[in-house]
Symmetry: C3
Subunit: 258 residues, 3 copies
């Protein structure tokens, strides 16, 4: 099985061409879209969405993830093996969260025989990444696709930074369609929010309310809820916290615990 | 086969995570998207779109439909069997049109062994509905997934209301991408519109023109046409009736027959 | 395998109903979406996107393409066979680029036994094109679906027009999500742009810069690049040329070579 995640959008031919290339090489391999609506060039957003998706797929799944402003330049195409899954895409930080696994093995895709002939300089999704994924799904070995590298790009910041004993500066990782703001504060790392007072400074508001579900939030109020992503989320009940606060992907937030 | 319909959008990881869960449990079950672009929290719109889609699929298809503002609250997760098809989602009115079938059988999903371990309070699509659907597709019996209930939520209003001998108040069920406004006046219930004068009050306009096809509408005019949905639709030729009239899903309209 | 391309959008039931119809007739035929986001009624855009996609699929693929403002009128439903692929949709110019193949064979779909019973006048995608494609995928012969015709609509203009010895008027074929403007100047027909001076007049700007990749464009500059589509594209580095120039699908551009 191959999954696809990109910032290509669905209004153009990009995704269709990739699926055609895969079907031409590996017609029996199922292809599943994660999303193609990553905002253009937002590598960190793609890294977050990939991290939220891949682990639910069965072992052996090949995840093609592409946000690739450096296509055609010297940035390397890579294949990463981690925890029984495979990841293919540009070496630009997109796989930072995958590479937190110390046992992950990275390779550079350097064997043009597994690409389309006559690659373009602008669409490696079609010409390099899709054919490599299709060949891998048919039994070509990772070692045949490229040689190991020890320096894949992994230094993208996703963790809150401690500013003082009880204060941490964080950020919005993702804004969903409802306007919920997923922060980078992990539930497991800040377990006291459910039981003890806290303040979350977000935009011009200071949020002190905790709720267990969306429908438990009083209408019109902002609350922090422990979300399905494993991170705390700023939410309203059937309304957009993002619009209310004027925040978006990457906006800073600040947590003070007690 | 499993179909998916939701208000999750396609820009986040929600749909990808659901497909991963299904693939992990039932890797051979095909999954088809109906739509994930239901406007957030519009349960009635989802009910209409489900009703327009499910009957074209083969018997035995499992339809997962989710617009779920009450996720994590006391609202029940349900499985409904009707006319050889299965329907899975929240018990909040979304299945009102399905439940017009007197022979429909409803069950509450109350067997956590068929869910993901450690369910969240905010994403039952991933943690409850998708795994239940996947298990059902693999041969688990409905009776194993939960016990029968007699009181599923079915009281959502979809029918026009008669106001006087010849006047009916109705509503816009759905606005499509072209700006066509699908009303809740069923062609079969109002068969005279094709042959006899009528007036349809919509926004600030009174429409008296009937057309059989979009291309038969004079440019710039509003007309009522008998649409593929089985309902009358307010349309223009290659232009948006919704923009012209300023109407949207749920807007009132009033029909006077002769 | 069946591919789908349309202007139906993904927010309605249209695509889901088509997939249900196909699954009901040919449950084992895989269905792949190219795009459903063609701007409403833009036949030329659909023709371009189809041309960019179909050739990457394996031989025998059936491509259903629908932008159909004349649905229900006298416009014919057609099936075209070309280069081992099949194309199904309305006879309104959408297949102009496919029909440049002199060996292409066109047929009118005139056998209602291969359609849904009780066709609507507004949704032939569901009622005519999808069932015909599904039957074709199951082994029904093209000659059983309809009789040959010699006059399919093929006269849509896609080529630049020479205005003087060194000047050509062209147009924007497609604007992608990044704001890159794909022109109708084919790289193969204008090979000198890489090596010799040129001017491309686009909106209020005169572009004289050539770049081989997006990341080679100086920030803030407009450049012409040889794109993966086979056409020259007007692009910026991680910014939208379409917004900068105020251009969109169909906008005129003018090339002067040296």
């Amino acid at each position: 099985m191959i999954t696809l995640l990109s910032d290509f959008g669905t209004e153009a031919h990009f995704v269709g061409a990739m699926k055609g290339v895969i079907a031409g090489i590996a017609p029996r391999t199922p292809v599943v879209d994660i999303t193609h609506e990553v905002p253009p060039f937002e590598i960190a957003t793609a890294a977050f969405l990939l991290d939220q998706s891949w682990r639910y797929f069965p072992a052996g799944t090949i995840h093609v993830a592409i946000v690739d402003p450096g296509v055609g330049s010297q940035r390397r195409p890579v294949l990463i093996a981690s925890q029984g899954h495979y990841f293919i895409g540009p070496d630009n930080g997109l796989f930072s969260l995958i590479l937190q696994d110390a046992k992950a093995v990275a390779r550079v895709l350097d064997k043009p025989k597994y690409w389309l002939p006559n690659q373009s300089n602008t669409f490696h999704g079609r010409d390099v990444f899709s054919p490599a994924a299709a060949h891998l799904s048919k039994g070509v070995k990772p070692s045949q696709l490229g040689k190991r590298i020890n320096d894949p790009w992994r230094n993208m910041l996703f963790e809150p930074v401690r500013q003082s004993r009880r204060t941490y500066s964080g950020a919005v990782l993702f804004t969903d369609r409802y306007g919920n703001l997923i922060t980078n504060f992990k539930i497991d790392n800040f377990p006291t929010l459910r039981n003890r007072p806290f303040e979350l400074q977000a935009g011009l508001e200071r949020i002190e309310l905790f709720a267990g579900t969306y429908s438990a939030i009083p209408p019109g109020e902002l609350a922090v809820i422990p979300a399905s992503s494993g991170y705390y989320e700023i939410a309203m009940r059937e309304a957009s916290a993002a619009k209310r606060l004027g925040l978006a992907n990457g906006s800073p937030v600040e947590l003070t615990t007690s």
